[in-house]
Amino acid sequence: MESTETAHEHPGGQAMAGDEAGHEESHAHPRYMLVWLWLALLTVAEVAIVWFAFLPRVWIVVMLLFMAVWKALLVALYFMHLRFEPRRVALLAASPLPLAVLLILAVMMEYR
């Protein structure tokens, strides 16, 4: 990802004064327009793959899932600033995902 180089060091994780005001997590902003461009391109690519359907269906599904995760990560990491937050916030954000996967996979076993 080209936009990563704009990600500056984030001071979070230390010096939490507990002060209500002030810049607790001031960081230079990533290039939002670049992220936006990527999201738009990926959306176009997704639709194109489905529209022309020149690949076997399994491949299409795999690629679509890959791109969906990619887009979701872009939003989470840059728009939701997870890249610039302390690691523990990202952990908190990701904590329900294993449960979600477990639930879906387990119930899918009913059809096996």
């Binding site: 004064a17 005001a21 002030g22 936006w36 489905v50 899932l65 728009f79 939701m80 639930l103 059809y111």
Partner: protein, 199 residues
Amino acid sequence: MAGAVTYYAGRAPERGLAVYTQKVGMWVFLASEVMFFTSLIGSYIILRFGASETWPLPGEVLNIPVTAINTFILICSSVTMVKAFAAAEVGDKRGTRLFTLATALIGSTFLGVQILEYRELLHEGFGPSSGLYGSTFYTMTGFHGFHVFSGVCCLFWASWKAFRGGYDNRAYKGLEVLGLYWHFVDLVWIILFTVVYLI
């Protein structure tokens, strides 16, 4: 441990996460939202997995180009949202006003397109009782739409606050927290669009 007491004293409250409380709260709430959408999207995936032979192919029922444009619209609203926050953070009140209102309006556009899409589909006879496809489609997109609607309401309220100069480089947390919610809704839509419309 026994016998030894280590003494500690400090002034600030202990903080488990080095971010402000409202943001922690929003992330915690979003964790529960993930599970809510898991139950809806998961049911869709499971039911579809069990009835894969009879499931309609992408584009057969739903209109992909219109929704692709709508997806793009929602992505744009995320960008304006994040711009609004960035403007507030540097104290650019004009930018904050502009981008907050823009986000609210673009979000409303998304909702409008979705309502038109529903009307079209219902007109074609594809309703919530049209098999499992209809059941899952309307429940998932409906509840996503409900979340967008709630977000739009908050955004209009935030715009009103921004126009009254409520956000600046010392008071931007509300905008950031609202932004987190808004991006989450966008993120869910990205997944939904792929899973429901394209696959």
